[in-house]
């Protein structure tokens, strides 16, 4: 099975609310994590990343939280907007894995209701 997965395949939120997208990973050796956003018909777009020596990182309206104890990653989007509607993927890089090998989860589809 995949080492990176998501708890919920779909998430529907009201415009203006906060969104939380979750991700579980199984490899303790993973030391670098990325969230990507993929809009319909487009390639994935980098949102934010975090290294394993951190437990929180903030960007513009987005925050990534890393809990290494339970091997859990989350993406928080503040004041969700219609433009945030997309599929969100988490990805991990295992330091002991092959170079250039990001492992992607299946994705969570975020729908924002106006």
């Amino acid at each position: 099975g995949e080492s990176v997965g998501l708890h919920l395949p779909t998430l529907s939120v009201q415009e203006g609310d906060n969104s939380i997208i979750n991700c579980a990973y199984s490899n303790s050796a993973s030391d670098y994590f990325i969230w990507y956003k993929q809009e319909s018909g487009k390639g994935p777009q980098f949102i934010i990343d975090i290294r394993s020596n951190m437990d929180k990182r903030q960007g513009q309206r987005v925050t990534v939280l890393l809990n290494k104890t339970v091997k859990h990653l989350s993406l928080q989007i503040a004041a969700t907007q219609p433009g945030d509607s997309a599929v969100y993927f988490c990805a991990e890089n295992m330091s002991t894995g092959s170079q250039g090998n990001l492992i992607f989860g299946k994705g969570t589809k975020l729908s924002v209701k106006p």
């Binding site: 990176v4 487009k42 980098f46 250039g100 994705g107």
Partner: protein, 114 residues
Amino acid sequence: NAGVTQTPKFRILKIGQSMTLQCAQDMNHNYMYWYRQDPGMGLKLIYYSVGAGITDKGEVPNGYNVSRSTTEDFPLRLELAAPSQTSVYFCASSYPQGARETQYFGPGTRLLVL
């Protein structure tokens, strides 16, 4: 910079036909990647390259070949197309530090094998 470009955007192939998916990047990235994305799924790595003249297999290399004669270009070759290769193909590139840094994705090539 144009970033990562891919051609064609869409192609229909008959079983047994061959084709080359083109990928180019103008960011002087050493690392380049090919992924496939099946409907409702995450990305799976087909092949990657850490520099001109060097390529390595990813998670799902069977049925594909790649070459990397220049830093800019990383074509993906399908020799005998099969229905199982119906998918959306994404090319990506990353900073010289490799997959530990952000991968930039192209817009994708949608392939249908009938």
